[in-house]
Subunit: 461 residues, 2 copies
């Protein structure tokens, strides 16, 4: 939707809501896609949003609800009665979406809504879906699918498919099962439409035998995303321990998982708690950001302590290269950690052992360290700093880069091993650690060289 | 594929290649998905890769080629003759994939391959696709689609669809066109299969009239991804200026675009040039990382210069809070920039004007700055630092956080306005700038307070 259009439209809608021009509102909204209507509602005040929502026809309203921002959706839901939720909303959406929405209701209201659901099959599907842990294939999957028994004829199957597929937006695959509901294989629409078979052929003769790619209901969402991306799948059946078909995950759910994953990594890397965005309130934004700043501050305090210990007043010139050492250490650490995080996400380069990884990173670190040290040495001479300081900076920089390369590789791998999100290591966390350790290295080296070389330098110049 | 399995298998394949056990190799490979075979080939030496590739049957080989890492693919292609590429590879893949692969061939070889292509329609499709600029809908789209004329009967259409869809993996939508090939609407497989219409109904009567969502062939890939995500589309038709149907973009192409986008932002934020990954050589990795370190070093040098100018030797105690000031400034700047980058990518909060954005960021900055300044003030008293230094740190930190909030918002917005990727602002670039300006603020404040308050402090303690 055009940006200007939406701004003007929003203003119009507000006026119409105030004036109660329901017909004008309805006229405009029927032309729009639910995702566009949701975008408009996200911008409205609560009473306006509720008013507008009630003008929509049932089916449109249900689809709009799915597209709303989570915060707006919760507010809107709390303004709807249990009956409205059960009879108008839930009846019009897929079981997996329904489970997502109902999950956020207060327990009392949830029970009322469930009691009011007319379709018992749907109700039991929803209850079933709500038992799966978030972030697993079970929580992602939908129950809506088209399945046919291998013993049916094509004519029988088409009749069944027509019935089962009636309410579905897309039918990606047709799942072939045996009498116990165990998944045997898949048929595509194309196979059925294009099969020059007679209507009396059985499905068994039509479908391709062989391994079907499935995931277990407890598979983590990231793993599901990886499989669907790798094998270019648009739908993936979900099975239980015994191979029974439970549901299917479609590519659009995976697109959302991928987006969330990428956003999460990106926000962790930039030191923001997971789930804020630009539109949130100042307080929410501050709450997401302040803790990370405090971590950085704590690191800064430690640095302050060490600088005190190392007695900066005796060698005040040491201050000159402090920012350079700290910044470079931080940058190297983040680079190393980011590469590891990406490799873990893509499961690439996993054949390399820990030692191979560290060895390679050591090689890269060695190259970077050499180039940077030589540059700092030359630059410090060009700036006419004392020789001992130049040597200190060069030696310290060399050590800091090597150290940061290794720790930047090791820390995310270790976090990952303990089940913690390795992307944590790319944020202020690792930068702060490297800052402190970098300064300790710098001051240790400085003490050594400045003490020993002070006299020599003085006699040279 | 299991990690251990692939390691063992790789070792076996290497042995078999050396011993020429082609039958064993073929036996194992026919069981595997092309994506898995590609993963194995990515790990092989060049001669081994070529040997293994030639063992694969034509169709399998073509699919494997599409899944290979770009570097490996280029090497493998340079080992194939023009005839092999034309007759075995290109004939077995979709026109959009073919265009992607041929794009990377040397000009001479490209001409030879094109001359050898048997299927003239495919050849002209490929040439057509190669003219579209990279990163546009035209470069993303495939020519393979199923389209039917509105005047055909269902029987005629099914015959045509069968012919057109024969070589396609998925048929997402059936496009309905008029005699001039202008896109009128879509039909789903479901519509056709489930329509209780007679075989003599015309398509015109079956398909839903109304707006079809399309993109123009020059639409940027990011915009295409945004549309398909927003409206949950699995396929999106591409049209020219006159509304003629040129091709279609499928969701799996968009998944790749999204992945690339996310990776790019993430790598820019962590200071790595775009296209490296963990498996690359030490030299490649260093080349992608060193430039960013040098930018950081240049910033460090500027800091060194300013620290010299501000005469650290007179106030050596100033060194104590340097790391804290620099780190916090950097962290705040990156947080602000990351939020802007995300908002720009999602096109969210675009209704806010620049001033609204800056105002909001100023509010968040004010809150963060107040909390952090108070903490540093208290901490510096607990550590028994002199009062003037504590005040200096608190005032400087306050100013630095506010400054970094504003610059962190303004810089990516400005980069974006000039057509530069705003994600640049989340990397070492903004951290370095904030480091330097933070220190300048710190030293300016320090000069003022330490000079005026030195005597007072001494008389207090």
């Amino acid at each position: 939707m055009q940006n200007n259009l939406s701004k003007e439209l929003l203003a119009n809608l507000r006026d119409w809501i105030e004036e109660g021009k329901d017909t004008s509102i309805r006229e405009v909204l029927t032309e729009l896609h639910p995702a566009d209507i949701a975008e408009l509602i996200n911008e409205l005040r609560r009473e306006e949003a509720v008013y507008l929502y009630r003008i929509l026809d049932e089916e449109q309203a249900a689809e709009v609800m799915l597209e709303l921002d989570e915060g707006v959706r919760e507010k809107l839901l709390s303004s709807l009665t249990s009956r409205e939720i059960a009879e108008e909303l839930i009846e019009n959406i897929d079981s997996d979406d329904a489970a997502d929405i109902l999950q956020d209701l207060p327990e009392q209201k949830l029970e009322e809504v469930m009691a009011l659901l007319g379709d018992e099959e749907q109700a039991s599907d929803i209850i079933d879906l709500m038992t799966y842990e978030e972030g697993t294939a079970g929580a992602l999957m939908g129950k809506e699918l088209v399945k046919v028994n291998q013993n049916w004829t094509v004519a029988q199957a088409i009749r069944e498919m027509r019935r089962q597929g009636e309410d579905m937006d897309h039918v990606y695959s047709i799942y072939v099962v045996d009498d116990r509901d165990a998944l045997l294989g898949t048929l595509s629409m194309k196979n059925v439409i294009f099969a020059s078979a007679s209507m009396r052929t059985t499905i068994r003769e039509l479908f391709r035998e062989g391994k079907v790619r499935t995931v277990h209901v407890n598979t983590p969402a990231e793993e599901v995303a990886r499989i669907m991306k790798k094998y270019d799948l648009v739908a993936l059946p979900v099975v239980d321990d015994r191979g029974m078909l439970l549901g299917r995950i479609t590519i659009d759910d995976i697109v959302d998982v991928m987006q969330e994953e990428a956003d999460k990594d990106y926000q962790l890397a930039s030191g923001i708690s997971e789930d804020v965005e630009y539109g949130d309130s100042i307080l929410t934004l501050t709450r997401a950001r302040l803790p990370w700043l405090l971590i950085g501050m704590a690191g800064g305090m430690c640095s302050a302590y060490f600088i005190g210990v190392f007695d900066i007043e005796t060698y005040p010139q040491m201050a000159i290269f402090m920012p350079l050492i700290a910044a470079t250490g931080g940058n190297v650490g983040v680079q190393s950690a980011a590469l590891v995080v990406k490799a873990l996400a893509n499961q690439s380069a996993l054949d390399e052992t820990l030692w191979q990884k560290l060895g390679k990173e050591f090689g890269v670190g060695l190259l970077n360290a050499t180039v940077c040290s030589v540059i700092i040495m030359i630059a410090s001479q060009l700036f006419h700093f004392e020789l001992a300081l130049g040597i200190t900076a060069a030696v310290a920089l060399f050590s800091v880069i090597l150290f940061a390369s290794i720790s930047g590789t090791w820390i995310p791998l270790t976090l990952n091993r303990f089940g913690i999100d390795p992307a944590l290591a790319t944020g202020p966390f690792i930068t702060t650690t490297n800052d402190i350790i970098g300064l300790i290295i710098y001051f240790s080296v400085g003490h050594y060289f400045l003490q020993r070389m002070g006299d020599i330098t003085l006699s040279l110049f």
